[in-house]
């Protein structure tokens, strides 16, 4: 596969490490009420869609960026690649 890195251009996915669902960016508050249930859903439960999927990749053999890649899990087609930091920041502002 090829990931079109927003800063570096197309790179072989071989350079990257795949973590999982982009939802892992939204870490719950560990001190809040019901933290265990919140973290259980955050860490363990997955939509695991057959289709468009937003996922985290780490450019380990490159610029060490974490990326949010939007990819179709049935065709492997990649439609969008963002810097995870930008996504995380915009979501925080959203909150």
């Amino acid at each position: 596969m090829i990931i079109n890195h927003p800063l570096l251009g197309p790179r072989d996915a071989d350079e990257f490490v795949h973590l999982g669902d982009a939802g892992l960016i939204n870490r719950p508050d560990g001190l809040a009420e019901g933290a265990i249930e919140a973290f259980h859903d955050y860490l363990y439960l997955r939509d695991n869609p057959a289709g468009l999927y937003r996922e985290l990749w780490y450019h380990e053999q490159g610029d060490r960026s974490w990326l949010v890649v939007t990819r179709d899990t049935t065709t492997h087609e990649i439609s969008k690649v963002e810097l995870a930091r930008d996504v995380a920041r915009s979501q925080r502002r959203g909150q």
């Binding site: 071989d14 350079e15 060490r64």
Partner: protein, 189 residues
């Protein structure tokens, strides 16, 4: 006069070898200093770099050079870049710190790396055997840089001339990296 003196040794004992259409040398005495850009400190740092070296902070995949041509700045990460320059004394970090003082977070990286210079008409065909990044001059032009992997080793590759590449890889695995490059050269020459 101290009882014990410490001699510096290079990663590859100054390796140097000529092949048919390719020359491979270890580059020693190259100081490598990383500068991390503080959050909300980009402008200040860019100004400092400009005044200290007369050039811009390099954009991703590129390098810039100081006005006097002695310092090369290489983008390595969204908020981090390297300065490469020759020096006889092992105080690159301090030199850069003196220039930038607190505008950026400085780490001396010199001893983390082994540096090879591969040049000659066969250098690109040799790298074709281990480098997944497209090094065609139309795509990877003069002063372009890329961080990738070759034979399971992380490598920073910079095109310093039409036919010459600077290759930086981790110092502890330098011998394996040298071996990978040498085999590639031998396989195509």
């Amino acid at each position: 006069m101290p009882e014990f003196a410490l001699a510096a040794v290079s990663a590859l004992d100054g390796y140097s070898q000529d092949f048919d259409g390719a020359v491979l040398r270890e580059v020693t005495d190259l100081e490598i200093v990383s500068v991390a850009v503080p959050i909300a400190g980009q402008k200040k740092l860019a100004a400092k770099i400009k005044s200290a070296y007369g050039c811009a902070v390099p954009k991703p995949t590129t390098t810039t050079q100081s006005k006097d041509g002695l310092v090369r700045l290489v983008s390595t990460q969204a908020d981090q870049f390297l300065l490469l320059f020759d020096t006889a004394t092992p105080d690159g970090g301090d030199k850069v710190a003196a220039q930038l003082n607190t505008a950026g977070y400085i780490t001396d990286q010199t001893d983390n790396w082994a540096v090879l210079r591969l040049s000659g008409p066969n250098s690109r065909t040799a790298l074709e055997r281990i480098c997944p990044v497209d090094l065609h001059p139309d795509v990877f032009a003069l002063n372009a840089s890329a961080r990738t992997h070759m034979e399971h080793l992380g490598v920073l590759v910079i095109r310093t001339e039409a036919d010459a590449f600077l290759l930086l890889s981790a110092r502890s695995s330098a011998k394996s990296f040298l071996h990978a490059v040498v085999v590639s050269v031998k396989n195509v020459t």
